[in-house]
């Protein structure tokens, strides 16, 4: 893969400072500071329950943070609904369990948000949708329903659906962990392609191959904190913290 193709600008895409979050009295995220440049591809890993999902869900306000500041693309996330709408239409998200809408066809899944949120004419929305479906290599499934597709295909539809909103940032929450091994590859291929086109990405994943191939930075979280972050090569070959070492030995030993 051509590393050169992926360029990082100096613009800031996401800026998180001193962010804290509690569930009840449980302190899930502690003093998170994170700056993501436009075009950066960040992989987040860490043991289960360390707050990875919560962190990226805070970025498009699926969860509310209680202290600190999150600025996405220049818009600060507060209780202001307008800001939240703005951020959400700039940020795409792909879930572990795809969460496609089972009562709509693939095409309708992809055009729903553009039509109702972006107010794009239907025809145009459908063209865009077909474009992205072609990109994820399943244009011929456009008129089927999600239930008729395999898991890998569904996840690719989920990616296409996000892309149809033309987001500037994409969030992935363990996009491949609910898939059978043979399907993981098709989804990762799609994500790699996306990365090569310069999309800003935050990706929670344990696919270390993927991290090494495309990430600019790997972030290791534990107990709600960012414990270590580094370039993938350094991170994998020369982890600094004890915890990181332990974690890596576990997942790579697998």
């Amino acid at each position: 893969m051509a590393e050169a193709a992926m360029k990082i600008s100096n613009e800031v895409a996401v800026q998180i400072t001193g962010m804290n979050k509690w569930y009840g009295t449980f302190h899930v995220l502690r003093d998170i500071d994170l700056t993501v440049q436009r075009g950066e591809r960040i992989v987040i890993c860490g043991p289960s329950g360390s707050g990875k999902s919560t962190l990226i869900r805070c970025i498009n306000r699926l969860e509310e943070h209680q202290a600190g500041k999150i600025v996405v693309d220049g818009t600060e996330l507060t209780n202001d609904l307008k800001n939240i709408d703005k951020v959400r239409s700039e940020v795409g998200m792909v879930f572990q369990h795809f969460n496609l809408f089972p009562h709509l066809t693939i095409l309708e899944n992809c055009t729903l948000a553009p039509i109702w949120v972006r107010k794009v004419p239907k025809k145009e929305a459908e063209e865009t949708a077909m474009h992205f479906l072609r990109k994820v290599k399943i244009p011929e499934q456009a008129h089927k329903y999600p239930g008729q597709l395999s898991g890998g295909q569904q996840q690719r539809v989920a990616i296409a659906r996000s892309l149809c909103m033309k987001p500037r940032i994409m969030l992935f929450d363990e996009p491949t962990s609910a898939l059978d091994p043979e399907m993981i590859k098709e989804v990762l291929d799609t994500m790699i392609e996306l990365a090569q086109e310069g999309m800003t990405m935050l990706c929670v994943t344990h696919e270390m191959g993927f991290a090494q191939a495309v990430a600019n930075r790997v972030i290791f979280m534990d107990k709600g904190q960012i414990v270590e972050q580094n370039e993938p090569k350094e991170f994998f070959n020369n982890p600094q913290s004890e915890r990181t070492k332990l974690f890596l030995s576990q997942i790579l030993g697998h």
């Binding site: 804290n20 600019n216 107990k223 913290s241």
Partner: protein, 476 residues
């Protein structure tokens, strides 16, 4: 881009003050946002209104009085002339009728023992593989039953037998399946206990079933199950109609006899339980057959089952009850006469069979097709496959549904008052109010009956929920 390594792990800190303690809880759960705040205030207002209406009335309740008028006098005397209050004295005076109808007071221990035994007999099918809960049911049931038996003045011999049965049950509860024998003989014991008469009655009745079983066992290999079951039923019928009456006549009448109790003395919750439990019990086999019939690809069998189920489900229970009490006699030979309660049980059995069939059909549909195929491939025939493979699994899935059918049915037993049986809601209440002393007691009986229904039904529905949850996690 900078590499970063955290030097010092942060300890969890408490959330901001606004999220903590009672205040935080209230902010979170009661006053988050103005919609919620309004809802909370509205709810508090509604609660206040209800309590301010009901509480004083309950608080002013009088438990000891000879008549409703006296109740009113006592309340006026204690709480002032304008105070209103409940006259629970009517319940205190008449609770026996609400529970047992006119069942003779000195024989109350019989229904009590019956009920205790029922719970123990149910343990085997309901907790077949859950010995811990089985023990949990058996221990308090035994204790409570024994206490009640003592309270009702049961003869010492009976107490002894009861203790023996419960000890046996407790001993067997490590593997509740062992208690299935008890489940099998329970119906006959219950009939004997409730209606009385010589012990030979139920024993001889069992004979018919033994014959049926023996015939099926003997002939099913050669003739197939349906045919041999048919022959068995004919044989059993002959036994019941021809041989049993002669045997009964020739046996001494007072052999281990309990004082007979007439059906029309049954009333109150005793009646509700008898109708509910026996209908469900008898509806189960019928429901299984109907469910199998509905899934069968034999055209006529299928249509007959569907027709029956849809007919029963399409007609209100009350019309069925009217049919039972008013019209059934038209369809029987003039010399055949049996009691209303029995007829109601039969019709309610048909009624619940249709609903149970639907529940079991759901259970059958929930089984993977592979189970039937595997049974076929192993060479099991249709009835063996159903009995050994399909039904045990389908029934297990269906138990929560069956419990729910039972709850519905139990509530519906109140309708039997419209065919002149003494149900707890209207039947007993009408009798109580026919007494000049209690003519004006409107609320108390209803509330009392409502409370008992609530406790019983709520308990059972929780049990159904618990089963459902257990089935869900029961991947094993």
């Amino acid at each position: 881009m900078t590499a970063y390594v955290r030097k010092q792990m942060l300890e969890p800190s408490p959330p901001p003050a606004s999220q903590q303690g009672v205040i935080g809880w209230m902010r979170e759960n009661l006053f988050s946002g103005w919609v919620n705040s309004i809802l909370t205030l509205a709810a508090i207002y509604v609660l206040y209104e209800f309590l301010s209406l009901g509480l004083p009335w309950l608080w002013h309740g009088v438990w000891v009085a000879d008549s409703h008028l006296q109740c009113l006098e006592i309340i006026a005397e204690r709480f002032g002339p304008d105070a209103s209050g409940a006259c629970w004295a009517v319940i205190r005076e008449r609770w026996g009728q609400y529970l047992f109808g006119f069942y003779p007071t000195e024989e109350w221990w019989r229904p009590i023992l019956c009920f205790g035994l029922m719970l123990v007999a149910l343990v085997a099918p309901l907790f077949a593989d859950d010995s811990k809960n089985a023990q949990w049911i058996i221990a308090p049931t035994s204790a409570l039953t024994l206490v009640l038996l003592g309270g009702a003045g049961a003869p010492l011999l009976v107490m002894g037998i009861a203790v023996a049965v419960f000890v046996l049950a407790a001993w067997a509860s490590d593997r509740p399946v062992k208690l299935l024998v008890l489940t099998g003989v329970y119906p006959f014991v219950a009939v004997w206990l409730l209606w009385g008469g010589p012990l030979s009655g139920p024993v001889l009745a069992v004979g018919g079933f033994v014959i049926l079983w023996a015939v099926v066992k003997l002939f099913s290999g050669r003739l197939g199950v349906p045919l041999s079951a048919g022959i068995g039923i004919v044989a059993a019928f002959l036994w019941w109609t021809v041989i049993e009456p002669r045997l009964t006549a020739s046996l001494p009448h007072d052999l281990l006899a309990l004082a007979p109790v007439e059906s029309e003395n049954f009333g109150g919750f005793l009646l509700a339980f008898i109708i509910g439990v026996s209908s469900i019990g008898m509806a189960l086999p019928l429901g299984i057959l109907l469910a199998l019939g509905r899934r069968s690809d034999l055209f006529i069998v299928n249509k007959l089952s569907v027709g029956f189920i849809e007919f029963v489900r399409g007609v209100p229970l009350i019309t069925m009850l009217f049919t039972a009490s008013l019209l059934l006699q038209y369809f029987l030979p003039p010399q055949v006469q049996f009691e209303t309660i029995l007829r109601v049980i039969i019709l309610v059995t048909f009624f619940s069979a249709a609903y149970i069939a639907e529940v079991i059909r759901g259970g059958l549909a929930g089984l993977p097709k592979g189970q039937q195929e595997a049974a076929d491939a192993l060479g099991l025939d249709y009835w063996q496959a159903q009995r050994l493979i399909i039904l045990p699994q389908a029934l297990k899935i269906s138990i929560p549904g069956i419990v729910n059918v039972f709850i519905g049915l139990f509530k519906d037993t109140t309708l039997v008052s419209f065919v002149s049986l003494m149900d707890p809601l209207r039947g007993v209440t009408a009798i109580v109010r026919a007494d000049i002393d209690w003519k004006a007691a409107y609320w108390e009986p209803y509330l009392f009956v409502a409370a008992i229904f609530f406790v019983a039904c709520f308990g059972m529905s929780r049990y159904a929920l618990y089963l459902e949850a257990r089935l869900k996690t029961d991947h094993r």
